[in-house]
Symmetry: C2
Subunit: 337 residues, 2 copies
């Protein structure tokens, strides 16, 4: 790709603060001469019978066709039987791995320095099966489903990621002392894949101990791979170490090279439309998308501008203790480019 051949990418601005932070991404990309032909997609206002969701058929086709996209926060309409839009996207597009890097932002102080963690979460099954029922009155059950297929592909993704990103260690997180069969199968798959990567240090860590060690000494970890719910929990914990979901990017990986980068924070309806939102998570997710497109130079250029703007501290949004508007902060980043 050259920056003069526009690349087509799906953009879901999403709800609440979504459109504002998506606008910020467009401006920053333009300022960096990264020409993306954004295929903007809006979620429907009623259920599309072809998807059984507010996500339309066109929404899904757009990602499948462009193979790459960026997604803002989506609020699931409240009411009976509406599946979470975030989850519907992951399932319908078979986005099997969710990659969430969490690293300390230079200049933005938290209790932790030099955090540098990658959580890789199985994204399609486990505790998110949606299979639940009442056995008798007052007794309900949920099914956690673990398959060899989904465990193998996420384990393979994690080790390949570690190798191609110069990472030294993969920790498989589990509770196989209790869920011997499900988490046991997950671990067995990780064990199998680990054998093909003798150069990567491999360990298994029980989730409760993992959480304790993460808050005591996050430097013990590097790449972490795990079933769906543990990934949900641990990726938020890791985000907390460096300042929260407003600062951490993510990308969902599917088959055939499909990748949907995503800001995983909420849609913050209380500040929506007020030019107060922090676009950092979506911007950094955009950077992940560029890296996925192998536009590494442009990705690093934009990444530095974001990091430096935050580090300088002059322009920061309210969530980081500053008084800047979304547009001031965005302009400051553009000025760095």
């Amino acid at each position: 790709f050259s920056s003069t051949t526009p690349i087509k990418a799906t953009l879901f601005p999403g709800d609440g603060i979504g459109p504002e932070i998506a606008e910020s991404v467009k401006q920053v990309f333009t300022a960096a001469d990264v020409v993306i032909d954004w295929d903007e997609q809006f979620v429907g206002t009623e259920v599309d019978p072809r998807t059984n969701s507010f996500l339309t058929w066109e929404n899904l086709q757009s990602v499948l066709k462009n193979k790459v996209g960026l997604k803002g926060p989506m609020a699931t309409p409240i009411g009976k039987g509406h599946r979470s839009l975030n989850l519907t996207l992951r399932k319908e597009l078979n986005l099997y791995a969710n990659v969430r890097p969490c690293y300390s932002l230079p200049g933005y102080k938290t209790r932790y320095d030099d955090v540098d963690l990658i959580t890789i979460r199985e994204n399609t099954e486990g505790e998110y099966s949606g299979l639940e029922h009442q056995v008798v009155k007052g007794v309900v059950e949920s099914l956690k489903i673990i398959t060899r297929k989904a465990s193998m592909r996420v384990a393979e993704y994690a080790f390949l990621y570690a190798k191609t990103h110069g990472r030294k260690k993969v920790s498989a997180i589990h509770k196989a002392n209790i869920m011997q069969k499900t988490d046991g199968l997950f671990l067995q798959c990780c064990d199998e894949v680990a054998k093909k990567y003798p150069e990567i240090y491999y360990e298994k860590v029980v989730i409760d101990n993992c959480c304790m060690m993460l808050v005591k000494n996050p430097a013990l970890f590097d790449v972490l791979v795990m079933p769906n719910l543990y990934g949900d929990i641990i990726s938020d914990l890791c985000a907390g170490l460096v300042g929260g979901l407003g600062l951490t990017p993510s990308m969902n990986i599917g088959e055939d090279g499909i990748a949907l980068a995503e800001a995983v924070h909420g849609s913050a309806p209380d500040i929506a439309g007020k030019n107060l939102a922090n676009p950092t998570a979506l911007l950094l997710s955009g950077v992940m998308m560029l890296r996925h497109l192998k536009l590494n130079k442009q990705a690093e250029h934009i990444h530095s501008a974001i990091i430096n703007t935050i580090a300088e501290g002059k322009y920061r949004t309210a969530d980081l203790g500053g008084t800047s508007t979304t547009s001031d902060f965005t302009k400051a980043i553009c000025d760095h480019l």
Copy 2:
């Protein structure tokens, strides 16, 4: 009770470092003139057919008879089909609530100051049902079971605890946006109980967000109540905030006033028998046991001696960066009494 009428209590010294730290408790209690008639119980070396576990019938009867006990770490013998001894005790004795206070120890610095959290964990069901099977090759499932009965009693325990301990807030931790039926039932029970305690602030927090907020700002929380696995995870996370499981006590609560205080750290076979173990978690669990027995004055006396010894910093075991032996540290506490 007066300190001259010996109270009978079960003591499981447990495995690994268990006997050494149990000895420390006995010495400290004696130095504080707390006379306990310890009914020492040792786990069997083969399966007792009446319990289908290495825990013997006598082990269980001892707790049921004395109604109060203290337990060191137990290592589950490795091999086929051995249930975890810790879990067997909880299930067989119907110890339905697991209370784990996590508070900053004055003088022992971590990244967090003034942590003061109580996690109350449902202790008998949920993800710990043990119900799992292979559906077809490569597809396994685990059942998470939530019952109204177990949810109500742990919710009631949590609110009563909050009230009787002068706590202001109870947070119910869940993932009901995904597990609507199971975690939904748990929340419904918490909602119902909360209505009876209008003076206690009540909120519901999604587990991923809870973990993020706990590492960002633990002062947002007070008492937390949750299903089994979330309790396992969050109590370890909270312990990490104040230094780890070597410093945090716990108590398991059953029907009819039964209470089994427990150090939940491991048996540390690598340092067993070397006079190196830190007895703090078991000592503080012993203090919880004394409070349960309403021996509040004695409990506070011992508690202060432990806290002050750690705060002074002269006698600390290796895990806290010191060079003291278990017996030196124990003696230092006794000298404070």
